[in-house]
Point group: D2
Chain length 300, copies 4
Amino acid sequence: MPTILGQNQYGKAETRVVKITRDGATHHIKDLNVSVALSGDMEEVHYSGSNANVLPTDTTKNTVYAFAREHGIASAEQFGIHLARHFVTSQEAIHRARIRVEEYAWERIATSDAREARHSFVRTGQETRLTQVTYDGATWEVVSGLKDLTVLNSTDSEFWGYVKDKYTTLKEAYDRILATSVSARWRFHWTGDEEPVPDWETSYAEVRKHLLQAFAETYSLSLQQTLYRMGARIIEHRGEIDEVRFSLPNSHHFLVDLEPFGLKNDNEVFFAADRPYGLIEGTVLRDGCEARIPVDLTNL
Amino acid sequence: MPTILGQNQYGKAETRVVKITRDGATHHIKDLNVSVALSGDMEEVHYSGSNANVLPTDTTKNTVYAFAREHGIASAEQFGIHLARHFVTSQEAIHRARIRVEEYAWERIATSDAREARHSFVRTGQETRLTQVTYDGATWEVVSGLKDLTVLNSTDSEFWGYVKDKYTTLKEAYDRILATSVSARWRFHWTGDEEPVPDWETSYAEVRKHLLQAFAETYSLSLQQTLYRMGARIIEHRGEIDEVRFSLPNSHHFLVDLEPFGLKNDNEVFFAADRPYGLIEGTVLRDGCEARIPVDLTNL
Amino acid sequence: MPTILGQNQYGKAETRVVKITRDGATHHIKDLNVSVALSGDMEEVHYSGSNANVLPTDTTKNTVYAFAREHGIASAEQFGIHLARHFVTSQEAIHRARIRVEEYAWERIATSDAREARHSFVRTGQETRLTQVTYDGATWEVVSGLKDLTVLNSTDSEFWGYVKDKYTTLKEAYDRILATSVSARWRFHWTGDEEPVPDWETSYAEVRKHLLQAFAETYSLSLQQTLYRMGARIIEHRGEIDEVRFSLPNSHHFLVDLEPFGLKNDNEVFFAADRPYGLIEGTVLRDGCEARIPVDLTNL
Amino acid sequence: MPTILGQNQYGKAETRVVKITRDGATHHIKDLNVSVALSGDMEEVHYSGSNANVLPTDTTKNTVYAFAREHGIASAEQFGIHLARHFVTSQEAIHRARIRVEEYAWERIATSDAREARHSFVRTGQETRLTQVTYDGATWEVVSGLKDLTVLNSTDSEFWGYVKDKYTTLKEAYDRILATSVSARWRFHWTGDEEPVPDWETSYAEVRKHLLQAFAETYSLSLQQTLYRMGARIIEHRGEIDEVRFSLPNSHHFLVDLEPFGLKNDNEVFFAADRPYGLIEGTVLRDGCEARIPVDLTNL
């Protein structure tokens, strides 16, 4: 046979689970999109179609729902750990499980007597929170993150002093809008059951806070500089994080030329362009740590 | 000629304009997506291709940018009024202008000293605000609204007592999740330059507040009942509004059957389904007023 | 009560039904997305939440599946007629039914012996076919159409002789790309069970053919002229159609300025822009017929 | 400094270029979406914001347009090679260029005299063709592929004999629909300027043909088996390809239970589900070759 099987994985993707926890009349909500990918002794199903080692993807979906009931959803990370451990330890043929989770945030609706509603929610709609838990029976890897967090500085951004070749026409800018839609992933130092487990909920809130502050407080000479400052700020403040990777579209806001209409445009009116966009990607590492987050950040 | 021309309109759609207003070091942002549709003496361009009456769509785009500079953007509604008036009064061949605006909201980033950043913003990402201004040289119609405001009640919703025919298999529900992504449009009473102009910004904030409160505070026997209460609450509280129309997908959250796994599911674990979904649409009117919002709410 | 109920409708949207018909080893496929909207005596469900007149949306979904089995799917239009008739004639409280259908086309895969596979298909992925059937117990209205049919003429398009005002900067064009993504709806003359029923499948294929040919064969001085020629060609050739409406984005392909690089660009290299875009909408009518297709074409 | 910079890259993403080539009255069209990612000596721009080594992303965009004019677009792969070579050889600080291209296919409109139009096109709308060219100054890597090729077998698919654990409820299937939307990438053996260059256009057409045939002609006991057959068929027939990777959603078509309505459903009526879906991913290698395509296929 001139062909062989390489890396492979399978599972149910995008199982949408909503968990309501009732604390008297006060309800809490967790809203997740869970994707399971399993690897192991899977040669035969590829070569001959024998499913003898295949736990059906329908079963991985059922497990997500059953575990939401059995273990609750304290955090996306903790829920992913429960699932990954289960698949690797309960099925001999499965050697590695990767659980990806998207989480959608909800906030309470304010009622007419200015209190928080106890069981009425409105989706915040801002960034989507992400996590990926990988387990091979010995070592854990947790990479969390977010996507679609759209931010903008209306000043304190410049771009000049760059290389000019024969195809360069861009004018230097000494005061421009800097805008991007942040996609970020950060890898936790934690790899083993014996180590103390991070507080996943606090960690997320703090990383997000530092990321936003670094964006706001960096006087930027290039989006790369801002990227690095965001990553460094996270690593400096959060000992549980060893590595951060960003994918940052440079969402161009072009100053509109209003001179033909006899008008000045002193950084007031901009055209927000869709495509093309600059795309700035990079990893920031705690010194001495290895990079493990892939170069291309994928959807989940 | 066996064919004739019917209703027609043209213009530039989806002009993305961002307006920064500097109040010292504190900046303000308005972020709009503006679509212009003009009608009038346009037979010849259709029949023979003569553009003698056609103001180019490129010009309508330029006008959006120039007006952002000349008039500012106090509100999406006010900006639409400036534009509609301009096209109808400055071009003899144009008899009617319809301006549609989507508005994206931004909030200030909190800085590390717990203040609001002065020129750094994060997009709220919740609902998209909408308005449509129509002017024919004599009468104004302003229909504002929103889309993609996703809300959920985790209890206080029932559904029973419905018609059963030979294709009915649904079980009655006495405690269910009620969730929807609100698309709403509301028409203002204001139609003329002599009447006092509503405070568009306050009106939007108040309509949104009443809509959310009515959703949260209605014990619901059907989504139709909730729809009606949301509309009625708006009209009862906001004298400037005569008509409200909703398009409400019933975003089904199905209780997962965990019995095969020996688990109870006492309204805790749900599958959030995508398609199909119920779609509940309806108009609520101030008594004595006419319905003018079309049955099908379109994208803008 | 200061508020009253206006137009309202409800039903299950986006029921995805795939019907396989086996003709020996040769299979045929119909792939539809069906949305049901019902109206009638629905005041009480809005005012008090009484569902006594409400056939559940779940039942309308079941009916779609049962009818696919009972009646087959000869065409989207015929299937819609079966459904609309059923809801209006079987439920006293329902006075009007509107069935919308999206249809996705598949073609047979070519096998290695250069024949057509008998039960293997690849989705064509071109336009989506649409129909809307409305029935009020007495009169039928069938509006069919398509969306996302993307077409381009690389020459034979000009744009000049237009109005110039103070905001006009556009240069006249004597040879440009004309491109659009056609969204069209056409209304059939047929309104009653006594009249001969159109051959829905042939009609669709012929309308699509004439639309494409008119686009290709019109030397265009404006997209409005092309729109009119497409509509007129359909009405001239297809006696079963009384009215056509188009929504045509002018998908701008801008000639890139290569002069800064010492290169000529003789209509060779273009930037395909996303937004903003011109939006040209219009109705073409058979002389003597009334316009009934709404101004704004909605998604289905 | 406790943090360091890891892998990073930047460039202009999604430059939309349309190239028209005139062969007398007959025009040819190439429609690409080009994304450039450059790496090299980029520490300073991240650490201090110095752009001294940064060729602006605006320049990479200009280069795409200029090269479409200077070199033409014989194929997406060839165009990517021109661009990658240029950036790496003309800029000392740039050590590696990765060019990604999406290509949209067009076919000629049939005219009313049953000929092919010479300059009128309709987008085929089926799969999107992809390529990625990477160059580090010494070695080339070309990975081509496609996405969104939706295929369906209405029989000749089974699924049984799988693992059953306590969360398994799935019933075995002996005749089911197998449907997926193929995302595939294949890596060429070619790595150096001295080796004969593949015929990129022929290669794409042939790989696509074999992929479709293998899908149609495999009697499938699992989607993994079909995946492997598709990859093996490509490698067996196309000597220029060393590695293929697939990401195959199992697009479930559930047989609808019509028994409550007194109807049999003998593999006739199906519900096409959206989410969750099985996701089957795997690599097929020419024996002796190394796997280099990343596990997660990204959008471009």
